[in-house]
Symmetry: C2
Subunit: 464 residues, 2 copies
């Protein structure tokens, strides 16, 4: 019985998140033991952890402790840990292991894990490791690396079970029992024609349940989705999501079956994709939790620099009206409200647009309807918040004209915000620029500039 | 051979996204045919579409066209389309079908799809539908509905293949062949002890490849993750992600096996979860692409209302210094820069924190290190942007004192932004408030208030 199996009594507490993953207590215990150089205690604590949990432990530790833990694990370091590590930490550990250390570990990895590891290494290191690999294994990895990054070819497993459609269930089972060259476990058996093109699939469970004399093409499912080798991994993820797929055959241009993608490979892509959009919208190029201070600072500096330019642009707009502000200082007090509300209303629309584009829910077919809807919402919310802010301005400064001016500026800015929140991402998407990255800078520039210009401009016209 | 199978020549264009999903051309063709009341043309266009694609088509159409299409599909409406629909559109169609129409369709759905559909219906409609179901099926659905929303119990399939550990491969296969009561296809067979507690699993492919006389407990994998019935679906998703699971047994409190969750069920949860965080950070309660104008406006109004309050608070801070601004109008020109840079720097940190908390990468174990790192980044970026904005202020207004004041305010605000970007989400998480929802409002309030206060306050002290 596995150590992971919980008896009935333990189950009471299983909903507590400490019951899976590495607990804070374990991490502190490891840190303590590392600090006290009690190596055998560290070994005891780490032994028996799932590779994914050991990876989490390594990530959570500070850099020095991480190196100390690596030293303690030493030759016993399980290469299966590597695929679970975040890129930054993996790079550190790869460097720590050195070219020869890595080359020794790679052959024990599954080919898709090895490819994932190798594709991030620099050219020199990659060549060094490839040279150290057994020839057949090396060929497989080199071929995978020859497919475009983020393509179905990189994502697929090359080990695929393919049998001719003329076989019976019995022949198939007998072949499975003697064949050495199959993946350990698999879900679907692919049925191929004489040209090795996939024509259907049979779930392993169905093979098991059918009578030996039944022919494969009698029980196979011909309704399947076929993935071309070059398809981008985000499109692969979309196909799996759209059709609820569990596994799908991958074919090269000629139509020959060359591999299989299973849904568990796709989970990582979906996860990454959604996280990436969130990061980009927040002005972070990628998750940088494990990056060091220097790299993080540099990565974030660019975005802040762009933002400084747009902020200065907004300031230039304000400076056009400095004489007006000097006369009516209430304008300086109220002007951030107009800009801020426009920015927030626009961000709401933008967020829906970016997510809907990523999910392929928003396309040219319904863009016009979406834009129209956001325009109307902009008008309605514009009017409502014009009344509210106008009311605030009137209560505060007792000035009807000022209240009218801020109300009018609010309507203008919120309508423009709604339109820009839709048109900017749709425009960027059309020119194949990732809308998650660039949209929000464009948007806030527009809402700041329009917000200040409309409010101060109307004030200059009607209040002086 | 399936219509989805592409011959070699077609594959050339398969990487084009038009080759799966509903194309814009198809949508326009359907719209045209609906408008011209050419019903048989509509039927031809829709026939043979995958249910997921028909669902997309229904979503993309405007409401009137949607009802028209439903009329055309009429009695031929495939209930399998329902689980693929977004909630808003599904509600509309459920209403259109009416209680009796729905009650007729539900029994042909898989139990988990039926549960997903029923859980969103109102109480009256649910009771009406339940009453119309066959008793056994009704029991299954009622039991599922009795588990907490968003729990493993709702997510699991109740059809699970469980066999005693003393059985041989041969006995297992024979049982599979005669048993009527099994799911159509499955990946893993669960091995249970006499109390029906899971003790291991055997992938279907391994059963098929093993000799008949081998005992199950010789080939089974005892290292598995067991999911309690009450576990929140986000934790379920985390387990699948963490350990790369394909399927996992679900047990009730006593430890009895009651169901199975497979990775394809989890894909939807992961997707939803990531999208939800993005939406919440953008100030949208949920994806509202298909909501009508009224509902969308109401949902967004709340967030904008909260934002208005914080904007007014910032204005109050500015008004404290109106005498200062009256004397040095350059302050009004420059003050949005300080607030905006703080807001953006804070949002970067906040985004990383929210995502890392959701991925369980950030926890108490490494919180101190994260806060420390963000503090240092705040100091470094604060100093860098103090020099830049100070330079801009000096070039623009030729005033050294003003340049020093804006530089000092920038450092203060960016350091505070970095700290708040970490402390606010960590604090909310500790009190079990979703950090994605509330963090950004708190954050921008702080960066606006501190930004204006530091800049104008220092100016009042040193420039007058």
């Amino acid at each position: 019985m596995s150590e992971d199996f919980k008896s009935g009594n333990d189950l009471q507490n299983l909903s507590d998140e400490e019951n899976f993953g590495v607990s804070t207590d374990l991490i502190h215990a490891v840190e303590d033991a590392l600090e006290g150089s009690r190596d055998s205690e560290v070994e005891d604590l780490v032994e028996g952890l799932h590779e994914a949990d050991t990876a989490d432990l390594l990530e959570t530790l500070g850099r020095e402790e991480r190196y100390r833990l690596m030293e303690v694990m030493g030759a016993g370091f399980d290469p299966e840990i590597l695929p679970y590590l975040e890129e930054t930490v993996r790079d550190e550990i790869v460097e720590w292991l050195g070219p020869d250390g890595i080359a020794k570990l790679v052959p024990s990895l599954d080919s898709d894990d090895a490819v994932e590891l190798m594709q991030d290494l620099n050219e020199d290191l990659r060549i060094h490791i490839l040279a150290a690999l057994p020839l057949a294994y090396r060929r497989v990895i080199e071929e995978s690396l020859s497919y475009p990054e983020d393509s179905a070819g990189r994502l697929m497993q090359r080990e695929v079970v393919a049998v001719p459609s003329v076989w019976t269930i019995g022949e198939t089972i007998d072949y499975m029992r003697v064949s050495e060259n199959l993946p350990d476990d698999f879900y679907d058996i692919f049925v191929v024609d004489p040209r090795h093109h996939p024509v259907g699939f049979v779930p392993a469970s169905r093979v098991m349940r059918s009578r030996r004399h039944v022919r494969l093409d009698e029980v196979m499912d011909a309704d399947m989705r076929i993935i071309p080798l070059e398809l981008d991994q985000e499109d692969v993820a979309h196909m799996f999501r759209q059709y609820g797929l569990v596994s799908a055959p991958v074919v090269e241009k000629s139509g020959r079956l060359v591999g299989v993608i299973t849904v568990d490979d796709v989970v990582d892509v979906i996860d990454e994709e959604a996280g990436d959009d969130l990061m980009k919208m927040g002005g972070v190029s990628e998750p940088d939790l494990y990056d060091d201070v220097a790299n993080t600072t540099i990565a974030r500096f660019t975005w802040l620099g762009v933002n400084l330019l747009t902020a200065v642009l907004a300031s230039v707009v304000i400076s056009l009206f400095d004489a007006t502000i000097e006369k009516v200082v209430a304008l300086a007090v109220l002007m951030p409200i107009v800009a801020s509300m426009g920015g927030n209303a626009g961000t709401q629309t933008l967020t829906v647009a970016v997510r809907s584009l990523a999910m392929k829910d928003l396309s040219e077919a319904n863009a016009a309807r979406f834009i129209g809807k956001e325009f109307i919402i902009g008008v309605i919310n514009g009017v409502l918040f014009a009344l509210l802010t106008g009311g605030v301005a009137w209560l505060w400064f007792g000035d009807w004209a000022l209240a009218l001016v801020i109300g009018a500026a609010m309507i203008i800015n919120m309508v423009i915000a709604g339109l820009c929140g839709t048109l900017i991402p749709l425009g960027l998407e059309r020119y194949e620029i990732d809308p998650a990255v660039a949209s929000s800078v464009f948007l806030t520039t527009v809402t700041d500039v329009i917000g200040f210009f409309a409010f101060l401009g109307l004030a200059a016209m009607f209040l002086l």
